[in-house]
Amino acid sequence: MSMNNQGRPTRSEDIETGCAPATFTGNRALILEEKLIFESGSTDRTGIDFPAAPDAPSKLGGLERSVEIGLPGLSESETVRHYTRLSRQNYGIDLGFFPLGSCTMKHNPRLNEKMARLPGFADIHPLQPQQTVQGAYQVIDELADWLKTLTGMPAVAMSPKAGAHGELCGVLAIRSALEARGDAREVILVPESAHGTNPATAAFAGYKVEDIPATKEGRVDLDALIARLGPDVAGVMITNPNTCGLFERDMKKISDAVHEAGGFVYCDGANFNAIVGKVRPGDLGVDAMHINLHKTFSTPHGGGGPGSGPVVFSEALAPFAPLPFVEGQGGEYRLVEEENAEEHHASSFGRMVAFHGQMGMFTRALTYMLSHGADGLRQVSEDAVLNANYILRSLEDVLDAPFAPSGPCMHEALFSDKGFADGFTTLDIAKGLIDEGFHPMTMYFPLVVHGAMLIEPTETESKDAIDEFVGALRHVVAAAKSGDANLKAAPHHAPRRRLDETMAARKPVLVYKDSETAA
């Protein structure tokens, strides 16, 4: 077939450019507005066919539903379109650079997805007879082995569901160990730069939280910490590399001091990506550390989870690790649960979760580890650190980098909002970056730096991608310094302009109300 070009203009020079007019539909070509399912669907429409139910008497105990639930359905074709349209209003790593500090948004290999979906992993029940799921236990055991070897720690609890859940696991093990020796300590020390989950976890576990002061260099103040240690301190929670992107040089000294004072050392391992294959936390005196498989080991973030937060333990804490766990003996695996824990795991603090953890994340993480191998993982941390330092040194002449003078950073570079024109903030930088086609960095975290911007490129970005980002960020920073009103109004090109978060919180609308359509 050939195109009939008669009378068809083929050049665009006569077209007027300039401000885009509003469209009739509100759509803008590939950016399509999408109604809520409560506006487009109906309760009698469905995208799934079922065979008729066989005749059988009801045994519902007289509890038959009498009122409508109000769940709208869509046909399959409409469903696919609804979610496809919504997906296009999202930014993901697949689309571009996503330097969200502390979140390690690296490429998610598709082999991982394929392996997690093998029916032998995806379609097995957690309570199947143990003889029918030996391969699943082997996955858990092999992954546990990698984690123990990479961290130099003797034990690992696999069941925690995410980083914060892992923190809870570690802190509960600390408390159990102290209780076992009759030592009721009350305080956990946490640096101000720590992630919010650290103090929240310590409080959840019944501890009082006190700040550890930081040095001007952005590290734990060793002398102040030592001065605070005493018989009431159960332990410390230290992030290493820390959330300023710096390695805690004194980690071993910190651990020794805490141990000497009878406490334990929890390490937040969210930033393990910077040191995997280069440093073993076990060599630094750490007693417990969670590992975010959804960061360091590339399991996808899915718009907010699921994650997985296995916790490695020192000899001192291992006996208190939670149930259940997998134990291998002569090629046979078994589950240690409430039933058989008495045999040799009587001090476990118990179960944190139904079943045995995030199997779907285990298969992905193991696939990733096998793909990279020991040599690849070492290269991962080296490239992650190289990329971050490259960013630090490419921006420090235009952005205030409070800790840059003290030396290299690890996997992420931290900047502040110093020097922007009056009224211009980190938020404006973020929104400007959105218009330039990038996901912004982490903003306003850690709290120790004013208007913090935490940039974590990860190892899966190319030099070209980083150069482009640096160029765009320098441009946006220049706008913030000169007080460019356009930046204040950014983003201009995203599916939505700035959203009113104050209004959302003042009069929360958390579910769709049918009356809205009438209004």
Binding site: G26, I37, T43, G47, I48, F50, A56, P57, L60, G61, L63, R65, E76, Q89, N90, Y91, M115, L118, G120, F121, D123, I124, H125, P126, L127, G135, T149, K161, A164, H165, A205, K278, V279, H294, G303, G305, E337, H356, G357, T363, L370, S371, H372, G373, A374, G376, Q379, V380, E382, N389, H439, E459, S462, K463, R496, L499, D500, A505, V511, Y512
Partner: protein, 452 residues
């Protein structure tokens, strides 16, 4: 290495810009004695896709796939048919590879999904509001207990003996540290639940009563009186739903007065996955919304007045509140919530009712067939798609012998309650739409053989 784009030339150019001679100089803050030289021994080096796939497939082959045999397990994890479009849609990179929607202007996809998800969950549970998901049902259950404690300022939680034993275990482990008083016991093999006993046990110290619906033995009873009694005493009723499909057939806990309804959403969209990742559902009455754990998505407008969605009420959360937060949860179960929501959208009300009816009718027929085996009796008067039978032999043994015949016949209560000898002959059997008549016939005849 296929996931690493930097070339040796790139690395050299970047080191030059940084002003160091080698990558090792960037690790100068790591004390010498803690630095590893060379790669870690005992671990293999990198491998091709092909080699990795071969290894993983070998491990997968060692497992007996649920879908390859007659399959009747439940007890908090249910095997339902997940339509193909669900897995296709959740693998769109814009959903799969996004983070928590901290930048709402470029995360409206995730946010609108969460708003729809919250609405679906709230309506299904008969509650005013729902959050954007928890890790799973068991952790959602514990969070509900702590939330009730914050609201009532009381510390005693009465757990129904029909609550999933793993959920009870989680609550017991946590309560040991928080100082909460958790009262629980093992279920009795009778047709009646312990609702009447729970009503008697409520007192002025009770913060909440936690009851599973349908319960661990599959039984269901009206919760209205229990809710009223709890509230009269200043306590809350927390209802736990591990099989949300049931609510296509029976009244929701919210309709019967529950204050907080939590659940496991794995039944829809997520699959068995050997226990995780799953998706915790969390809903409650409007008046308790500021005590909820976890993320909440809310509606707002943008600078041009267009409707949009954002994460909201975050002053409850760890990143703002730190040690005063309602929970320490951060990453939740977003992608599983998406899968749940897509599956629910495909079903719609009609589909959910049809699915529920199909499950129930198949289960009723299977129970009738099983009851005809000599020595086998059904405990339940009421059930949805899961019921308990008593065997003349130890049920764990029977399950193993059925597995030897390539039938996954159910969950023995001995596995769930190893220390309760009175429960050792009980077997929990679940029949969903995925079980064919031939599957049920195979179970019945294999069980006859095992028992003969």
């Amino acid at each position: 290495m296929r996931y690493l784009p930097l070339t040796p030339d790139d690395r050299d150019a970047m080191l030059a810009r940084i002003g160091v001679a080698s990558v090792d100089d960037l690790f100068s803050d790591v004390p010498e004695e803690a630095r590893l030289t060379g790669t870690i021994r005992d671990l293999p080096d990198h491998a091709s896709e092909m080699a990795v796939e071969r290894h993983m497939q070998k491990l997968a082959n060692k497992n007996l796939v649920a879908g390859s045999v007659p399959f009747f397990l439940g007890a908090g994890a249910y095997r339902h048919h997940v339509p193909s479009s669900v897995d296709h849609l959740i693998q769109r990179g814009e959903f799969l590879t996004a983070y928590t929607p901290y930048q709402p202007e470029i995360a409206q996809g995730t946010l609108q999904v969460l708003f729809e998800f919250q609405t679906q969950v709230a309506r299904l549970f008969g509650c005013d509001v729902a959050n954007a998901s928890m890790y799973d049902g068991s952790t959602a259950c514990w969070e509900a207990i702590t939330m009730a404690g914050r609201i009532t300022r009381r510390k005693k939680a009465l757990l129904s003996n029909g609550l999933h034993p793993h959920y009870v275990s989680v609550a017991n482990s946590m309560a040991r540290f928080t100082g909460d008083d958790v009262i629980s016991s093992a279920p009795e093999l009778s047709a009646k639940t312990d609702i009447a006993d729970l009503i008697d046990m409520i007192d002025a110290e009770t913060s909440c009563v936690v009851v599973q619906y349908p319960d661990i033995l599959g039984r269901m009873e009206d919760l209205t009186a229990l809710a009223a009694k709890a509230q009269e005493a200043g306590a809350l009723l927390v209802a736990v739903v591990t099989e949300p499909v049931a609510l296509g057939a029976v009244k929701s806990p919210g309709e019967m007065g529950a204050d907080i309804v939590v659940g496991e959403g794995q039944s829809l969209g997520v699959g068995l996955q050997f226990g995780g990742p799953y998706v915790g559902l969390f809903a409650c009455k409007q008046k308790y919304v500021r005590q909820m754990p976890g993320r909440l998505c809310g509606e707002t407008v943008d600078a041009e007045g267009k409707r949009g969605f954002v994460l909201t009420l975050s002053t409850r959360e760890q990143h703002i509140r730190r040690e005063k937060a309602t929970s320490n949860i951060c990453t939740n179960s977003g992608l599983c919530a998406l899968a749940f929501s897509i599956h629910m959208t495909l079903l719609g009300e009609k589909g959910l009712r049809d699915l529920a009816q199909l499950n129930h009718a198949k289960a009723v027929k299977a129970a009738q067939q099983l009851a005809q085996i000599d020595g086998v009796s059904v405990v339940n008067d009421s059930f949805f798609n899961e019921f308990t039978v008593i065997l003349p032999v130890d049920a764990r043994e029977a399950v193993r012998e059925l597995a030897d015949r390539s039938i996954l016949g159910g969950v023995s209560l001995g596995r769930l309650y190893p220390n309760e000898s009175e429960l050792s002959h009980a077997l929990l059997i679940t029949v969903t739409e995925t079980c064919t008549d031939a599957d049920v016939d195979a179970l019945v005849s294999a069980l006859r053989e095992v028992l003969s």
